[in-house]
Amino acid sequence: MSQTIPMQEFASARKSARTEPAPVRFIIIALAVTFLTVFVVLPLVIVFTSAFSRGVGAFLNALADPEAFAAIKLTLIVAAISVLLNLIFGVAAAWAISKFEFPGKTMLNTLIDLPFSVSPVISGLVFVLLFGAQGLLGAWLQANDVHIIFAIPGIVLATTFVTFPFVAREMIPLMQEQGTSEEEAALSLGASGLKTFWRVTLPNVKWGLLYGVLLCNARAMGEFGAVSVVSGHIRGETNTMPLLVEILYNEYQFVAAFAIASLLAMLALVTLVIKIVLEGRLEGHHSDH
């Protein structure tokens, strides 16, 4: 029974085994687009429109406010210190986990994820319990006039804790995949451990490292929960940008609140763009071999 299929019917036949009928495709795509619009695009648009609702002048005034300025400065300082600390910690941890065998390695690998699984508020509370006035080390700290809680050191500690998985988590799989043979080759060619690290290990992971630093930085600047617990909300002193946004909002200073929020949103957008670029680099790096 051989039949020739009419041209029209042939054209309407599915072109690929994996595609779905048009209505199904439409529904799935519409669902995704609607979801993204409601949960991502709309809030972003509202942040920016609210920030500029009284015009550019009001927006700039809000940012020029000394309290806003202090919050931006504090956020940058805290992020810089946390990112630096986590860069050092992350590389050390990734190096140890991927290149050496030692007892407790699995434990360390698991502990790195702890900040991801603990609520940020709890993370902040831990530091209050440790360093607060009624805390474990509180009396000693007070006697020696060291201020950690309700001061910048506490904010840095909390932020560093919350963000420490980012660099390590990005680096460990990358370094594990690359193994140790290039390092062994460098060693047998007479390179010292330090030279091996700078000339062989680091160049091989630089894109992954940048990627980790980028995510770490975005989170460090945006952290609210943990920082809120340890900061004490002292205006002009221990308020970071996210904390200030909340305070201003609660005081019905919507333009000011959204002006600061728009800066954080900008940070997110810039991070996203750099992330896409870095991911491209990482892919290129992987497909090399």
Binding site: S181, E182, A185, A186, L187, S188, L189, G190, A191, H289
Partner: protein, 349 residues
């Protein structure tokens, strides 16, 4: 540079990778460490390189204690099975690496480095690839660059870990001959690890056969092939017919049949008779020491290979023999077999 390995022991947890290994490598030699995977050959190579440390024993280079030096201070060129080229450096920089990381006091200047790298790239015949990255090279090219990189530090010893293991058969064959020729040219004491007997026998001056962390035999390729000292060596190198026999009062018995062959000094007790497949001559039925029926014949090239069923103790033992093409073999035909050369080893318990 002579290498003296003494009583080396290396354990990984419960696994003994090297069990009291002794080995002396003569200056200018090209030595093969041959054995199945898990025999400890790569571990021994890595210990000599300083990439692994032994639990006991000593290693000396020209009488000087090598274990007192780290990998970088031993002046050993190491070529890795999977090349381990620096993926972010081009070919030139890969080869130059060993020169660039030298302490400032002894580091050659840029012009000297360029000259040396170009010489090495010419030596491995890949000068035209200097600006390429490792990912842009074929397996054979990568392996040659890895060799050039190892030679850049003018190593006293060259160690190669399964140097051709990851390459396809044709490239492997070419590189083998090339390595042999290169060794004749630069004459540095070299050790390479392989599980490929053909590679070991073809390339090396001497072959060290290893199994389960021990050295089974050391000898020239001819020696290990023609005069294997243990049952393992006989079965690992070349193809063998193995028959369970018993040596009793100076005679060799296969089942209830007394074979007309000498014991060659083999001790009494259950033993194994090893015969190379091409070391049996075909006789008329009743004339050989062994007798069997041809079950299957396959001919390729200058030889034909036949499955022969030997009758022993009422049961059948299937063996494979090689015979010249000019002797016609028919399936079902009864033939006599006479071992021309054979060896008898005590049965492994």
């Amino acid at each position: 540079m002579t290498i003296e390995v003494r009583n080396i022991v290396k354990r990984f947890g419960d696994f003994t990778a090297l069990d009291n290994v002794d080995l002396r490598v003569e200056s200018g030699e090209l030595l093969a460490l041959l054995g199945p995977s898990g025999s400890g050959k790569t571990t021994l190579l890595r210990i000599i390189a300083g990439l692994e440390w032994p639990d006991a024993g000593s290693i000396s280079f020209d009488g000087e204690n090598a274990l007192a030096r780290g990998a970088g201070e031993r002046h050993v060129g190491f070529v890795f099975q999977h090349y381990a080229l620096f993926r972010h450096m081009n070919v030139f920089e890969n080869v130059a690496f060993g020169l660039r990381v030298q302490p400032r006091a002894v580091r050659p200047n840029e012009a000297a480095i360029t000259k040396r790298v170009n010489e090495l790239l010419d030596l491995v015949q890949l000068g035209w690839l200097a600006n390429r990255y490792p990912s842009q090279l074929s397996g054979g090219q990568r392996q040659r660059i890895a060799l050039a990189r190892a030679l850049a530090i003018e190593p006293r010893i060259l160690l190669l870990d399964e140097p051709f293991g990851a390459l396809d058969a044709k490239v492997r064959k070419e590189l083998r001959q090339w390595l042999r020729a290169l060794h004749e040219e630069i004459h540095v004491t070299s050790i390479f690890v392989t599980h490929d007997q053909e590679e070991a026998l073809e390339v090396a001056n001497r072959v060290v056969v290893m199994d389960k962390g021990k050295i089974e035999q050391i000898g020239t390729p001819e020696e290990v092939y023609d005069r294997p000292q243990t049952a393992f060596v006989h079965s690992f190198i070349g193809e063998s017919i193995v028959l369970p026999v018993e040596v009793r009062s100076g005679r060799v018995r296969l089942g209830d049949k007394v074979l007309g062959i000498e014991t060659n000094g083999a001790a009494s007790g259950p033993s194994q008779l090893f015969i190379r497949r091409h070391d049996v001559s075909l006789e008329a039925p009743g004339n050989g020491d062994l007798e069997g029926a041809v079950r299957r014949v396959r001919a390729f090239g200058p030889i034909q290979r036949a499955d022969v069923a030997l009758q022993t103790n009422g049961s059948e033992t299937m063996i494979e023999i090689d015979a010249p093409r000019d002797r016609e073999l028919k399936v079902g035909e009864l033939i006599g077999l006479k071992p021309k050369r054979y060896r008898i080893f005590a049965a492994v318990k």
